[in-house]
């Protein structure tokens, strides 16, 4: 599959290009950052960004093949519950459990995919949303085995703090690298072709159902992996995993960051996690400034922030179809042009 593209020289060439340097710098910064700032709260935020990078990238991979899921929370939850329950009931070490959880999630994803890949975009969105509701119901119904209704503490995966941060960062780098390699391969080419036009893709001899199924299974694998890591990190899991909010998060992250790009979900999850973590600080100010206007609400902050997020999402989709990433690319191109013009005389 990677016959020509990834010989040693080619990899070296990629690493020597500007793009390669940016990637290397990004990896180096993410690994070295905690050496300078060891505040536990900031480490926690960075760990969340790493985990959500995995989750958003998994969603984005599905979107790259032209499919949209509104129920990825189901797979997040399946991954999380499988890993935690295996560790508690059968003593499976969580480090293996997270991969079993991911594989189990991919298995369920395969079953959903087999039946649904032929559906059009919005039908698939509906079915996946419905599946997350069904998963929530099943987990609550079989509470004797899942203990999902009240929830339970999840066992330790890696020591909290720095070790967990490095673990999450390494897994997320591997995930992003794997997705990058997939998108560079023949399979990735097929995904892009299907995304652009299903009919034409099948006319050129691409087995669209097969490749859509691949995308679905791969995506649900990484979503399950993200879920397993996330709920070991949160130290607690309950049926609330399946909330629609969790399904919409990766979507918003991918869209805001830049749909269909490798770096989009990373940037998007960084933006969203920062907004989630830092903006509650402005709630007090919002409350003082706006509470006379809205006497019906006791705490004005959260709805105002969510309203802002909604407006931001619509503006991004309407005016920046490739997300914040495209803005960064434009700035980068502009700077390069300006610098070159400066060099000429």
């Amino acid at each position: 599959m990677f016959t020509k593209k990834f010989t040693k020289e080619n990899i070296l060439k990629i690493l020597q290009s500007t793009k390669g340097r940016i990637i290397l710098i990004a990896i180096a910064v993410s690994l070295a950052f905690p050496l300078f700032i060891s505040d536990t709260y900031i480490i926690r935020i960075l760990t969340l960004i790493a985990i959500f990078t995995i989750y958003a990238s998994s969603w984005n991979l599905l979107a790259m093949s032209g499919q949209g899921s509104l129920g990825h929370a189901a797979f997040l939850g399946i991954g999380g519950f499988t890993s935690s329950l295996l560790a508690i009931n059968l003593g499976v070490p969580p480090i293996i459990g997270i991969f079993i959880g991911a594989a189990f999630s991919a298995g369920i994803g395969f079953l959903i995919g087999v039946t649904c890949v032929r559906l059009q975009a919005w039908f698939l969105a509906m079915v996946t949303f419905g599946f997350s509701v069904i998963a929530e119901t099943l987990f609550s119904q079989f509470d004797d085995y899942t203990h999902a209704v009240l929830g339970f503490p999840t066992p330790l995966l890696v020591a909290p703090g720095l070790p967990f941060y490095y673990f999450a960062v390494v897994i997320s780098i591997i995930t992003v690298a794997v997705i990058y390699l997939i998108m560079k391969s023949k399979m990735g080419l097929a995904f892009r072709a299907i995304h652009q036009n299903v009919a034409e893709a099948s006319m050129t001899g691409i087995n669209t159902a097969k490749y859509k199924l691949y995308a679905f299974v791969l995506s649900t694998f990484f979503a399950g992996l993200a879920g397993a890591i996330y709920y070991h990190f949160l130290k607690y899991i309950s049926v609330s995993v399946f909330a629609a909010d969790n399904s919409f998060k990766p979507l918003m992250m991918s869209v805001i960051g830049g749909l269909g790009t490798i770096e989009g979900p990373i940037i998007g999850s960084a933006i969203m996690v920062f907004i989630d973590a830092l903006l509650p600080n402005i709630d007090g100010t919002l409350q003082l400034a706006l509470s006379p206007l809205f006497p019906a609400v006791s705490n004005v902050g959260p709805p105002v922030r969510l309203l802002g997020l909604g407006i931001f999402l619509v503006i991004v989709v309407v005016f920046l179809p490739k997300g914040v990433t495209s803005l960064l690319h434009k700035i980068y191109d502009y700077l390069r042009r300006e610098l070159k013009i400066g060099e000429k005389p």
């Binding site: 419905g130 509701v133 609550s140 629609a244 609400v297 407006i311 179809p321």
Partner: protein, 291 residues
Amino acid sequence: MIDATTLILTLVWGVAIGCIYILLATGLNLIFGVMKLVNFAHGELLMIGAYVCFSISTAFGVNAYIALFLSMGIVALIGVAVERLAFRRVLGTDKLNEIFVSLGLILIFDNIAVLIWGEKIKQITSPFENMSLQLGGVAISYDRLISLAFVAAILVGLMFLIKKTKIGRAMRATSQKSQSAMLMGINIEHIYIFTFALGAALAGAAGSLYGIIAPFTPYIGAIPTIKAFAIIILGGLGSIPGAIIGGLLYGIAEQSAVIFFGGIWRDAVAFSLLIIVLILRPKGLFGEKGD
């Protein structure tokens, strides 16, 4: 064992809830049929409709069923704004963009409602509160019967509009082939605005009826949207009689699930039904052939 009274009550409840879903589904179906647009935020228009009706009826002491018409008009205007400012700009681009815009709109509407009306549960006071019709041991509240009548009247009016009037003919032409319709001198931009406003007005009516027969919060919108989609899929895309049959089937299936399996199965059973139908008949039960 479940006795006959329970069964009849289930049926009545199912039909009443089904009616509200039918209105919502018909609006969605119109918008989808004419504009080929999927508005996942349609349920938020229902929620706004309920609140507008609530505000009008409490602030001015108007009969809730008269406030319903005002609410329909206001929600239609909101629909026009939504179509012009958001959906118009992504129409014809990637299908996924419509889903993203809808999600943004869901956040916007939910939180505007929270800011204006607060998060507390509200219910519209009906002029026929606590009055019910006694039918052989079964009590059916007047509000449910009136909402049934309203839905029937609105649907008949809508059928007349679509089948008999000039603008209805233009809408049908646009839904069949927008480019040819344009060549025939139809201003499809105007048709789009009109269709979206009509769909939104139906959602406003659905919301007002919902608010009369059940309590509501700013977060009630999401689930009815998905259910309306399920109904459209059950009934087939673009078919109004299909939506009526689908809506009634759905409402009854949902209520039966609650009675036979318990409350937590309410949504799951309905979605299972939907998924099974989609797998067996990807175009819906009564769907037309072709795309």
